[in-house]
């Protein structure tokens, strides 16, 4: 089976695998959705709750600490700053983990390490808003094909689960993706459920615990899914939902319950009475209620235009905002509607056809959304894409050109940098090379949109986390230690 070359998706939806090897496998990969550009709030703390609700509890807090770092001047480069500019013969000055300045003729203070880019390119660290690293960890096994850590399949509403709790930090794919320049990733549950659970934003640093990777202060997300995956996952077992209309009924019923739960808790908070017994907690409804309080971002796996249009109305019906549709292969059909609803889309460059709901995929999808004034990001879903994200942008640029739309590279890099940063509400910290932002930087051997280019140096918060020319800065996972298959035969 050629198809057995699983990347995660393959395994994620065993229900579909047996008879339909092709799309089947993919059906779940296509797993999720997150991210978006709606800018409702800058951070959880900034969200005013009308009902005196406290800030969202953070029981598994980040323990991230930047790796050892030194001040650096990266020079002799073409710089894509992530906000639309191409700076020639330029560089970036980093101090204490932050970007100090960007431009030409930068002066490095005493003690600053100088990195000569040798005429290569410099970009912000790439941000992948749709990853399953760690919760669809490699190596995949036949056990994973039966029961995996990416989908909780006991109920179509699994809003109570957190991707954070599935993440295997020693997944060797984290390092592969780091080599591809990805410094920030949003890890999501899969798409087999209507409500898949919470996603989490990680810094792509080598670590021992997932808390050491958690992006401090980043908002969690709620993964929801449209279409075939929930319908088949449960419908084929004779359970609810077994149709697309069942899917929508499932979302609505859950939001009705969340609305009632929120009302109970709002009433409790409003009384300010410490002697009053609080209402009973419910993990599913806590997550959904936090969405209604704008404390959690909704990312929604949807392919078809008609489904996305319905979901934007469901969001209005219950008073929440969809941050982004993920996959969104038919986004190009409804660009004005997406704009009107302030919903971003995160898409692949060229995935199409592997399932019925992906049949209308086009390579200009991202470019058409962009040209129509919408917000777009490129995401990976699978590791093979995350290792080469700029090539997906290149593919889109080429296809768009042939369709009559010219997109510059310095603009297209925004699909991988500032747009996902905004979608995660982290754009004050990451997503562009601007003074004051975190020093997440990638030095490329050449134009990152060329297949022949590779990342030379990857920097997170001012620390070199990968250096192609320094074996001491090429982290591997514990899994890879002591593996005879990896060592060179004598």
């Amino acid at each position: 089976m050629m198809m057995r070359e699983l990347t995660k998706s393959d395994l994620c939806n065993p229900v579909h695998r047996v008879p339909r090897l092709h799309g089947a496998l993919l059906s779940c990969v296509l797993l999720s959705c997150l991210g978006a550009l709606v800018f409702p709030a800058r951070s959880p703390a900034a969200v005013a709750s009308p009902s005196h609700a406290p800030a969202l509890p953070d029981p598994y807090p980040s323990t991230y600490k930047p790796l050892p770092r030194s001040d650096m001047l990266i020079d002799n480069a073409t710089v894509f700053d992530g906000i639309g500019h191409r700076l020639l013969h330029a560089g970036v000055l980093l101090h204490d983990g932050k970007i100090i300045s960007v431009g030409s003729n930068l002066h490095a203070p005493e003690g600053t390490k100088t990195i000569d880019a040798h005429g290569g390119f410099v970009t912000p660290g790439l941000i992948d808003v749709h990853s399953h690293l760690g919760d669809f960890a490699a190596p995949f096994t036949l056990q994973d094909a039966k029961v995996s850590d990416v989908n909780e399949e006991s109920s179509p509403n699994s809003a109570e689960v957190w991707a954070l709790h599935s993440i295997r930090v020693q997944d060797p794919q984290f390092a592969r993706v780091r080599i591809g320049g990805v410094t920030t990733l949003q890890v999501l549950p899969g798409s087999d459920d209507l409500f898949g659970g919470r996603g989490v934003v990680l810094k792509n640093v080598p670590a021992v615990t997932v808390q050491e990777m958690e992006f401090p202060g980043a908002m969690p997300s709620l993964k929801m899914a449209c279409g075939e995956n929930p319908k088949y996952t449960f419908g084929e077992k004779g359970q609810f939902p077994s149709s697309e209309m069942g899917n929508v009924a499932g979302y609505r019923q859950a939001w009705i319950e969340a609305t009632e739960y929120k009302r109970r808790w709002d009433g409790y908070y409003a009384k300010h009475d410490p002697n009053l017994a609080p209402p009973a907690r419910d993990l599913k409804l806590e997550t959904l209620t936090a969405v209604l309080r704008n404390q959690i971002l909704v990312v929604m796996h949807c392919y078809r235009a008609d489904e996305m249009a319905v979901m934007m109305d469901v969001a209005k019906e219950f008073g929440y905002q969809i941050t982004a549709f993920h996959h969104a292969v038919e986004a190009y059909k409804i660009v004005p509607l997406l704009k009107e609803n302030h919903v971003c889309v995160a898409v692949w460059a060229d995935w199409w056809g592997f399932k019925v709901e992906a049949y209308d995929g086009i390579r200009s999808n991202a470019a058409f959304v962009d040209a129509g004034g919408g917000c777009v990001m490129l995401h990976s879903d699978a590791t093979i894409s995350a290792e080469h994200l700029p090539l997906d942008a290149a593919l889109t640029i080429g296809a768009a050109h042939r369709a009559g739309i010219d997109i510059s590279e310095e603009h297209a890099i925004e699909w991988l940098t500032i747009n996902p940063a905004r979608s995660l509400h982290l754009d004050e910290q990451i997503g562009s090379l601007e003074p004051g932002k975190n020093a997440d930087v990638v030095v490329w051997s050449g134009d990152p949109f060329s297949v022949y280019t590779r990342a030379s140096i990857v920097i997170i918060d001012g620390a070199i986390v990968y250096d192609r020319n320094d074996p001491g800065r090429q982290a591997t996972s514990d899994f890879e230690v002591g593996q005879p298959a990896i060592e060179r035969p004598r």
């Binding site: 190596p139 036949l142 060229d350 199409w352 080469h388 022949y452 593996q483």
Partner: protein, 441 residues
């Protein structure tokens, strides 16, 4: 800079064909055309000819050279100095067998019933698949189509080479190879150990040997008392061409131990073997080379995706090529069939970024798959006499931004329009304000 094409036989052939061709084709015909101003990669792996003229007559390359006269009346296309390569070939796909991933449009695997090695994909091919134009528009003109599952493990059945011509005539070489699949991810199908997978392959080959011996003797009685599906008459007869070395036995395998088992089949049965997968192939590169085992690999493989692929690395292609293994490419996942062209082009570029010389990457997209699947007599280069599968590129074919400007398959120019480009026209951003629904466009 004009360079003389170094290969003398080409020049001689060119002259002789050019004269004859001009006389035989006085009128423009659909499959006769001259490409002028080409940077022609006549023999992939070798230097191109600058400013070449390529004469295509009746679907075949008739002559290639500098300064060739274009016969009167022949249509002429100016490549304007751009790269012209043979049409590309994907070495393992399910193009023509799959459409939407649903069972009613998926014909690549038989999972119940009597079939094993005898299953033959040729009867399921759909020339009207919407996947085919997409592959053509990415410069793919040939593809090896292999089955992907089995009712009688470890044998999946036989694959076929397709030519991606427009119209119904797409079957290039039926029964081009018999495919067997081993490894951890398919172990349960063979009872629970990969040891059983190899023993089943060997017992089937043994049975086929006995059948050949019986067939050549006076008494044609069936000496096999085992009535299992594995050893059924049809499944065993399907292996006879393998034992006669007429076609290769394909082993889908990734782990070093399985690759070594495949090598031992060559030693023990004197058969031709092709490996699909071989993520750990670099560990046994010399052995694969010395046993003349071609490898079809996924150039994106970089992670220990399964326990069979712990040694996966991006320079696998470069290391195998350096050892002298004939490599060609397949893609993974969605890209196996739905993006069968662009995925192997970009994948070849990734192999180059990880050490494979560019000229060898072009070989791995053309002559190498032709050699692997036994169609060098008519496909793989732009040498006179070969089918005129060629692509004029708007840039470097290994770059994802690039695309074909023109594709000929057996001398016929094919459309670069696809269902996707039709949808793009229908939903162009400047039509967003139209009052009429897109359905009228």
């Amino acid at each position: 800079m004009k360079r003389a094409w170094p290969a003398l036989p080409v020049t001689l052939l060119a002259l002789s064909f050019a004269i004859g061709g001009a006389q035989q084709s006085p009128n423009p015909s659909a499959d006769s055309v001259a490409i002028i101003g080409a940077k022609a990669y006549v023999q992939p792996g070798e230097s191109p000819i600058e400013d070449a003229t390529i004469l295509v007559v009746k679907g075949r390359i008739q002559a290639v050279g500098v300064g060739l006269a274009v016969p009167a009346g022949m249509r002429s296309i100016d490549a304007k100095g751009r790269m012209v390569t043979p049409g590309l070939m994907n070495s393992a796909s399910q193009l023509g067998l799959v459409e939407t991933g649903t069972p009613d449009t998926s014909d690549s695997a038989v999972v119940t019933g009597p079939f094993g090695a005898s299953f033959d994909v040729q009867y399921a091919l759909n020339p009207n698949s919407t996947l085919l134009p997409v592959a053509r528009a990415d410069g793919l003109t040939r593809v090896m189509v292999v089955p992907t599952g089995s009712a009688t493990p470890p044998f999946d059945g036989s694959g076929a080479v397709l030519r991606l011509s427009e119209g119904s005539d797409i079957l290039d070489l039926p029964q081009a190879a018999v495919v067997a699949e081993v490894g951890g991810m398919v172990v349960p199908k063979s009872g629970g150990s990969r040891g059983a997978q190899w023993m089943l392959i060997r017992s089937a080959l043994d049975a086929a040997q006995r059948r050949m011996a019986t067939a050549s003797s006076a008494h044609k009685e069936n000496s096999d008392t085992d009535k299992s599906t594995l050893l059924s008459t049809s499944n065993i007869e399907a292996l006879v061409p393998v034992l006669k070395s007429k076609i290769p036995l394909v082993i889908v395998a990734y782990r070093e131990s399985d690759l070594r088992q495949a090598v031992s089949l060559v030693d023990d049965y004197k058969i031709r073997v092709v490996i699909i997968g071989a993520d750990e192939g670099w560990r046994v590169a010399d052995l694969l080379a010395s046993h003349k085992i071609p490898v079809v690999l996924n150039p994106y493989a970089s992670t220990p995706a399964t326990y069979d692929q712990i040694g996966a690395r991006l320079d696998n292609a470069a290391l195998l090529d350096r050892a002298g293994v004939v490599i060609s490419f397949k893609a993974a996942f969605v890209h196996v069939s739905y993006n069968a062209g662009i995925a192997i082009r970009e994948g070849a570029g990734i192999a180059v970024a990880n050490g494979l010389p560019w000229p060898h990457a072009l070989k791995a997209l053309t002559v190498n798959p032709a050699e692997t699947w036994g169609i060098t007599a008519h496909y793989g280069t732009l040498q006179p006499g070969e089918d005129a599968d060629l692509v004029i590129w708007d840039g470097d074919p290994l770059e994802p931004m690039s695309a074909p400007a023109l594709v000929l398959i057996r001398g016929r120019q094919v459309s670069l329009e696809t269902r996707q480009t039709d949808l793009e026209k229908r939903y162009r951003p400047d039509r967003a304000g139209d009052s009429e629904p897109p359905g009228y466009r």
